[in-house]
Structure formats: C-alpha cells, structure tokens
Symmetry: C2
Subunit: 655 residues, 2 copies
Amino acid sequence: MGHSVSDDFENRGEQWTYQMENGQTKYKVGFPPKRNLFSEFHERFHETFFADDPLRPYKDKPLSRKLLLCLQFFFPILDWGRHYDFKKFKGDLIAGLTIASLCIPQDIGYAKLANLDPQYGLYSSFVPPLIYAIMGSSKDVAIGPVAVVSLLLGTLLQEEIDPTQNKEEYRRLAFTATFFAGITQAALGFLRLGFLIDFLSHAAIVGFMGGAAITIALQQLKGFLGIKKFTKQSDIISVIKSVWDSAEHGWNWQTILIAASFLALLLAARYLGKKSSKLFWVPAIAPLMSVIISTFFVYITHADKQGVQIVNKIKKGVNPASANQIYFTGSYALKGLRIGVVAGMIGLTEAIAIGRTFAGMKDYQIDGNKEMLALGTMNIIGSMTSCYVATGSFSRSAVNYMAGCKTTVSNMIMSIVVLLTLLLITPLFKYTPNAILSSIIISAVIGLIDYKTAFLIWKVDKFDFIACMGAFFGVVFGSVEIGLLIAVLISLAKILIQVTRPRTALLGNLPGTNVYRNIEQYPEATKIEGVLVVRVDSTIYFTNSNYVKERILRWMRDEEEKLEAKSEPKFNFLIIEMSPVTDIDTTGIHAFEELLRTLKRRGIQLILANPGPVVVIEKLCLADFTEHIGHENIFLTVGEAVKACLVKSRIHEEP
Amino acid sequence: MGHSVSDDFENRGEQWTYQMENGQTKYKVGFPPKRNLFSEFHERFHETFFADDPLRPYKDKPLSRKLLLCLQFFFPILDWGRHYDFKKFKGDLIAGLTIASLCIPQDIGYAKLANLDPQYGLYSSFVPPLIYAIMGSSKDVAIGPVAVVSLLLGTLLQEEIDPTQNKEEYRRLAFTATFFAGITQAALGFLRLGFLIDFLSHAAIVGFMGGAAITIALQQLKGFLGIKKFTKQSDIISVIKSVWDSAEHGWNWQTILIAASFLALLLAARYLGKKSSKLFWVPAIAPLMSVIISTFFVYITHADKQGVQIVNKIKKGVNPASANQIYFTGSYALKGLRIGVVAGMIGLTEAIAIGRTFAGMKDYQIDGNKEMLALGTMNIIGSMTSCYVATGSFSRSAVNYMAGCKTTVSNMIMSIVVLLTLLLITPLFKYTPNAILSSIIISAVIGLIDYKTAFLIWKVDKFDFIACMGAFFGVVFGSVEIGLLIAVLISLAKILIQVTRPRTALLGNLPGTNVYRNIEQYPEATKIEGVLVVRVDSTIYFTNSNYVKERILRWMRDEEEKLEAKSEPKFNFLIIEMSPVTDIDTTGIHAFEELLRTLKRRGIQLILANPGPVVVIEKLCLADFTEHIGHENIFLTVGEAVKACLVKSRIHEEP
C-alpha cells in the first residue's frame, strides 16, 4: 500500500513539476470576494464576545424547546438531573461527606483570615454551594470560602475599617464587598467579558498563589505561637518583626506544642494522601479528627487556663438575613465596590482555573461565561444571607474529584452537613484551640506553593518567570493588591514588547525541496544567489511597522556587505515570506509603500510570498499596494517566488 | 534556459518524491542548539533598544577614529560639512530665504495661538534652527514653532495660569514647559525609547492633526471677525457659541473684508502651488506679501481707527536670556513637567514623521533616537533663550524640500533672516492687522486636514478608522488632550483584541501541489479524508491560549457534524499548521497539553506542522511537550504531515 501512496504522490509531484515547467503555477494568491461593510465588524464582534457560539443549540427548534434549553442553560441541574440515578448519588454522597469534614475546620479558620467570626465561614459553606449546585456547570468544583480570597478580603477591608473596634460596620462592609463581587462576576458573565480573566497569565497566577500562601502561613504564626498582639500588616517584614518582638514574653509554649504536633500529623496525612490515591481520605478527614482530638484534649486539661487561646463561642443556628446590612449608598458603598471587584475577579480566576482543570481531566467543556453567572448569583444571594465571598476551593475540589463525585450534588450534601453542624454541634467547638486552626490552614495552603511549575516556567519562558516572581514578591513583600498589579502590568508589557519588536528571520532553501526555512534553525538551508528571502514573524501594526521596515533594510545591508566581502554579485530580489503576517494595518501598509519605494530606487524588486490570511491580502488590495507592487510579484509560496526570480535573472543575463 | 531551470527543478521534484516514497522526509523540524541563560534576554533587549545597532561603525577602529565618529554622531555637520560646496549652498540659500519669508508671518500668528507676544514666535525661529542645523540628521525638516504644538501649549498653559492677568508667570511657565519638553525628547533619545512614539498610530495622527487644524481655524475666527471678547475654550461648541453671541455688535466689517480678501488670495496662491511644482514659491511668499500689503494699507487708511485690530508693538532686538525664569521647584515645576511631556511627545511625533517622509523621498535613513537628542537639546537651549517649543513644521519643510534644500544650512539661512528681522524691521509690523495673521494661519492649517488618507483608512481598516475618528472628534469636541488620550486608548485596545481573539482557519490542499491554504481564500482547496488541518494565526499567549484551544475544538465539532450529516467517516488526525505561531508562552503550552489530552481521549492524533520560529520549538522542547506529543508527530510541512497520516490510516485499514 505504501506504493499507492507514493504513486499518488508521484502524480502530484509531476503535476507540480509540470506547472513549474512553464515558469509559473496555475494557482495565484487568492483574492477573496469583497465583504460588505459591516460583515467584518460583525465577525470580529462575534468572535470576541460569542466565540463559543452559545445560540447554536437554539437554531430551528420549536419555541417550547427553546424555552426548555434556555432554562437548562441557566439551571444545568434540569439537564443532568433527569439522568440522575442512585449509582451517581452514592459517589456524590461519599464525596460530599468527605469535603464536608474537610471544609468545616477550614471555614472556621478562613473566617478568621477575613477578620470575621467563625460562624460566617460556615454560613458561606451552606448557602453558596446550594445555589451553585443548581446553576453551576462544573461537576467537580467544591464551593466555599477559600484562603486567598479570605486573606485578600481581610487585608482590603481592614484598610477601611478596624475589625476589632467597629465589628458591626466591618461586617456590613464585608457583605457589601461580597454583594459587589457577585455583581461583578455575574456582569462579566452576562456581558460575555469572560475573556478578561485571561489577562492574568498562568505564570502570574502561580506566583500570586505562592505568595499568598506564604503570606497566609505567616499570618498563622499568630495562632501558632499564641501571640496576643500581632501586626495588621501582611507583608513578610512587619510580620517577622512583630513575631520577633513578642519572642521573649509573647509566645505560649503549650500552644506551640499543640500546634506543632498536630501540624506534623496533618503533614504526615498529606504525605500519605499524596503517596497513594487510595488514601485520599486520610488528609481529607485528618483536619476534623485533629479538631475533635485537640478540642477534647483542651477540654480535659483546661489548657485554656494556661493561655492556650480557644475559639470560645461560635453562634449557633442558621444564616441570619443580611440584605438590609449592605451599604448601597455613601462612601462605604464605593469602597465595597472597589474591594468587591478585586475579590470577585480573583475568585473567578481561581474557580474557572479549577473548573477547567477538572473538566479537562473528565473531558467535558466548561462555559466560562455561564460559570461566572453561577458564581455571581451565588455570591449575590450569599451577601444577603450573611456569607462572604465564596468560590471554588482547590484543595477541596481535588478531594471531591478523588472521592468520586459525579455531579454538583456532592456540594449539596456538603452544605447539608454544614447546616447540621450549624444547628447542632457548633457549641462543641467552644474549646477548639486557635492553634489547631492555624495548623490546618498552614497545611492547606502549602499545596498552593507550586515550585515545580515555577521552575518549569523558569526553564521555558524567562519573561513569564519575571511575571511569576513579580507577583510572588509583590504579594510577599508588599500586599496582595500590589502583587496583582505587578503581575498584570508585566503581562501587558510582555504583549506590547512582542508587538513592538517582532522577530524576523532569513530563510534558506532546504536542498532538494521547495521548502524555505530559517537558516538559524536549519543550518543545512542554503541561500539562493541573487535573492534574499526574509520572513516577518508578526502582525504588522503601527507599533512595529517602522521597526519591521528598518529591520528588513538592515538584513539587506548586512547581507550585501557579506556578499561584497566575498565579492559575489549583489541580489536583485527581496522576497518577504508573509505567512506569519496575520494582519496589517494602514500604518503597516504605509511602511510597505516606503520600503517598496526605497527598493525600487536601489533597483531591487520586492516580492511577497503567501500573504496568508484573507484579511491581509484584502487590505493590501484595498490600499492598492497590490497594484503598486504588481500582481505578478505576489506568489503563493516562497518556492514559486524564487523560481520566478531565477527565471527573470537568467533573462537579464542573456545578451 | 527555461529548460535548465525546469531540469534543476525536476531533480528537486524527484528527490522530493524519493524522500516520500519511504513514508518520511530526510528533514525533521530543526531543534536549535540550546542557548545559554541570558543570551535570549540579551538578544531581546538588544532588539528592543538597539535595533539599529548604533555601535556597528565603531567596531575594530582606532580610538581617534572612534572619537571622531562619536562626535560626528552627535554633530552630523562634522560629517556632511566636509563635502559641503557652493552648489549645495546655492540650493540651501534659495530654500532658506523662501522658508524665512513663509515662517516670519506664521511665527507671529502661532505665538498668538500660544498666548505669547509675537516676538516669542520669532525668537523660536532663531535659536532652535541653529542648534538643529548642527545636530539634526534630516536634511529637509524646517524647524520652528508649529500650529498644533502652539495650540496645545496655549490650551494646556491657560488651564493653569490666565495669560491676560499674569502674563509674567504665564511666560515663565511656558519656558518651564519648553525646558521639560526638551528634557523629555532628549531623554527618550538617550534612553533609546524612541519606539514609544510609534504607539501613536498613523491613523490616530491623521485624525488628531485634522481635528487640531479645525480647532485652530476656529480659534482664528476671533481675529478673522475682529471679535474682542472670545471664549478660552477650544472645543467647537463653545467657540461657535461665542462667535454667535458676538454676532450683533462684536463683528467688525472692515476686519472681515481684509481677512476674507487676503484669505481668498492665499488660497488661490496655494492652489497655484499645488497645480505646478514650479510655482511652489507662490504660496511660499504669498503670506509675507499679504502682510506687507495689508500693513501698508492699514497704515495709509488708518483702518486701525475703524476698529481693525493690529499687532501694535513687537519688541525689537535679539532673544533675551530666560534660564533664570524657568521654574525648577514648586507646583509650577510639576505643572510645567506635565505640559512639557505632552508637548514634547507631540513635537517629536510631528518632527519624526516629517523627517521620515522626506528621508524616504530622498532615500536616506533617519535615526529616530539621534533625531530626538537633537530636538531635545534644541528645545532645552531654546527654553533658556526665550523660545517656546519648536519642532519640524510640515508646511515649511515641504517648501524647503521643493525649493531644493540640500542640507540643514537652509535652516541657518532662515534663522539669520529671522535675526535680521528681529534687529531691524520688527517695528514695521506695528500696523499689521491681526486679521491677516488669522487668514495666514487658516490657509496654513488647511493643509493638515488629510481627508484623502482618512478615506483610504476607512476603506482599508475600519478599526484604524475608529481610532482616526476618535482622535478627530476628541480634539474637535473635547480638547487636544482628550483627542490624544482617545487615540492612544483605541490603539491599545486594538492590539489587545488582536492578541485576545486571533484568527484561525481550516486548510485544504491545492489539488496537484503540496500546498495547503485557507479554504475560505482558495475555494479550490480540498479537504483530506480523515484529516483536519487547522491554522492558528497568532502567537499563543495567556491572553488567547484558552480561546485558541476552544476554537480548535469548535472547528472539530463543526466538521464532525458535517461529516455525520454526509455519513462520512470521522477524522483521526488533527494537524495544526504552526507557521504563523511566532511565539508561545507557558500558558499557551499548558493549553496545548490540555488539547492533547482531550484529543487522546477521543482517539484523535494531534500533529504539529512547521513550528516555525526557533523560540517556539525551543519552548515546546523545554516544556517536554515534544515528548508528550512524540517527535514523530512534528513535521516540517503540512504536506508531509498529511502524507504520514494517510500512510498511518491505511495501515489501520489493513486487517
């Protein structure tokens, strides 16, 4: 069979040869039909905002069906709910119970990160997951308060209001921020601006998360060492300073003992879980276990009398309404808005990233915009039921996934368990030492420090690494905000540099083929006498058009000098390989016109090879550049262009 | 000879065929040698800041030579001065006299635009041209005050200080702004940040200039209609309003008569000059002529008694020193800095644009950074000798060029003539009616309205047109600053959209060739059974990596549906044509990994064709993606990739 292939190729080869025999090909660069005025706009708009073509399933369906589809779009549960069965439920039940046992202690700890009373953490693990279970499209994300957002909220809020002095306003501002975070998320989803979160690059997120993890861990030294008066700043300098200052008298050895021993235990559990995926449940229930044990221990030993700080009181009962507490007017509303937007974006980034990761593993698609609507709605309703910003938690989602969850029902199970906890057993947490919560948080956030990826980034892309480190150090030495800002700025700078200084390359022919490649990359590629082939590796826009022009002229100058040195004949043709030039604007065309003029004056013929994407040739056409350069000087491939040049030059040589 | 060509091609063709016979090519995608740690950085840095390779001439030269070259770099006159001869001088003399006659009346008018006394316009045409003549590298640019910068300066300054109430401070602030404008320009040149001005796109400049021209023309209605109290605002609404309000009593028919008749005369001259390039001198000297005539006319008719406003007094004598008047400290220094930076940038943009245009016509290179140094120094010294911001004037440069200037000596001639004017004949301007200056300015700025280009932009690139119109209306209805801001923002938005939503295309084979092209662009291109070929038209960065992934999956989904409809077999191979992918970052690689995983699960083989630029394959390598996908699945061309697929699929078909 290998034959039939090579045969059919042979034919192609011959045809190809045949085409070239008479000096030219039967294909010219395609000039697409002129598109009417707004089709281009519309296309661009559609690709920008409706890239996923959401209305597709609605095409030519009866109205009733359309309504159902629409409902199912907003409430996926109506879709998957119909095929829900006991087998799936079993998976969800186990997963739900596991993540519940993991989230309860975490919630209490995270609430403290946000400077809120412990119960608010639990509240946020009750309502939001329920909403998400109905509206969310990811099967694996576990919803609830997360460390980074809690820290972010905590630091941003206490810049405005002191949580210890006026608790009441602080909490109200927290709800306000949560409300606006929800609005932001829902709005982004509704306006289909989901792509905005892509402006935070993977590298930046890695750095940001790592930095946040370290900052959070440092914050825990308060509970870990039993320090009473601790700094409000979150940067490493002031934290270490305040730890050091309290070294003589401020520390409490009993606390340290409990914290250290349980941290060791948790880390051991974590290690086990990593070791074999069968033991995933060990790290999952370890936190709850250690809470129970340590609480019991403190209760019988009265360690709280020896200065071991305890949770003391967690308010019993279900979420109180808080809609009336949100600031809708006044300066606090604005502050809440500002904080909410930041927290909302971070929450989104985390949730979507997690959703996509697990969706990838189970091979289903996540609709970013739909997801944002779900998360937004959940936080809006949350803000009215005494919850603060909730989102997808990585650690719990991972457990959820490994515990074999099938649908968002696992989130429902979890929230029911949390509800029961709130109704029945919160009083039992009275004697839980804060130290244990610190240990739990530390062991939880350690997972966020992804040094492996950081190293990979370093290996692969130095610029990404700068963004990564910028975010990291920004968070550690500055604040969460500063880290974010740095990350975004560096990322933008990267794009701008890339569009300002595109790469260019000299091409050579791979002997025995029609293929022309970068001579840097393919040493065997050989230059053609009398012809210079240059490739421009970027769109030609106003930011780089002048550079591109001058760079091409520089290539020419350098090559000409080499030729002079070897006293070889100069070249008469400059071929620009346009394949990578995916767009050109008027400034770019302007530069080309200038280049053409300069070359004409030097008696060098400019030739374009494969102005690939429709839009480029279209624009060159509209600007009459194709006329100025001459249609006969635009070729389908570099190979053909070179052929033509050789033919021409031989004609010239003839007397 | 046609034969020899086709022969040598035949051989190629055969070799080519031969390669394919045994199912694969002898060329694989080149894996470049690993570059050491900072070479990549260094290269990027060098291309960004030293793209023009300025140190090149200094290579292996004796020290004395190096010093000379260095001096010549900063003072090009040392270079061209040595070959200067009488023939060149003749050209420069004529050109110099012509632009002098053009600049004197313009200077007086422009000074009024900047709310300064007339003599400051003349001062600015004396010192700066001299400096530029020594340091500048453009042979054709004519230096002096220009309309747009004068207007910009005028509007920005009077926002800070009222020029009528405290003239003194206003002037001092103007010098301060000029000083910082110079500093900005010199700094940009010295730090080699010249490329920053490229961020103002050609389209934006066209719109901006047009808007500024109209604003300036409207400002002239004051002098044109002889209105006494006129609005300080520059936007069209308030100008028209204030013109309208003064309609009953404010206008002065004698003024209007003079202004209108001379405007007609000037426009006629302008038309003549356009008609035949031999008559270029007609519009060049027309302004001076009309000044002389109208002045004489007013003098004998005592029209000034009938309310025709006249220049009255122009201070006689050469520039007084003003270094001591610059604010180096206090809030005015900061305001001066802000205004200076803006004015400096605009000045640069205009000068460099002009320089490049004429350099292109005479085929010599302009070194942007060197040019900025020259302009900067000239304004710094200017600010110390009672000059305000000077730059390259388009109208005068054009005249300079057509009058046959050879070197910057024409600028010297001009400045000498201006000097003589200052020393001897300024008193004669006493009776010059302001109306005439208005007419001169109007006829001068009309040339800035480039509707032809605007229309071309509209035809070629709608997005550029938006930027153009944004700048235009921003200036006309808002202010010069607002116009600028809009222009820059739209330009940036364009880049971001382009990197967020890159184009992708389905490729098909051009029957009888190995060439694969966009099936939209080439209807004859045919798809290959069992293989889907997709091209990504952009760098794959964090901003678009997720979109690219999903878009490719969407292409697959759509195609699969089509195949199902025709109940044809599904495809087993997805080939991604990477030629246009000129860079990829870690987020992009991450997306590719996910894509690979998804495809594997669906039993589709992912194949990469021609990961072109060195850096891409390098990064894929470092990230071990090449391992995951398998080296055998990376091909040099789409053609080869398809070949391999066909081979494979046939193997599968066999029992």
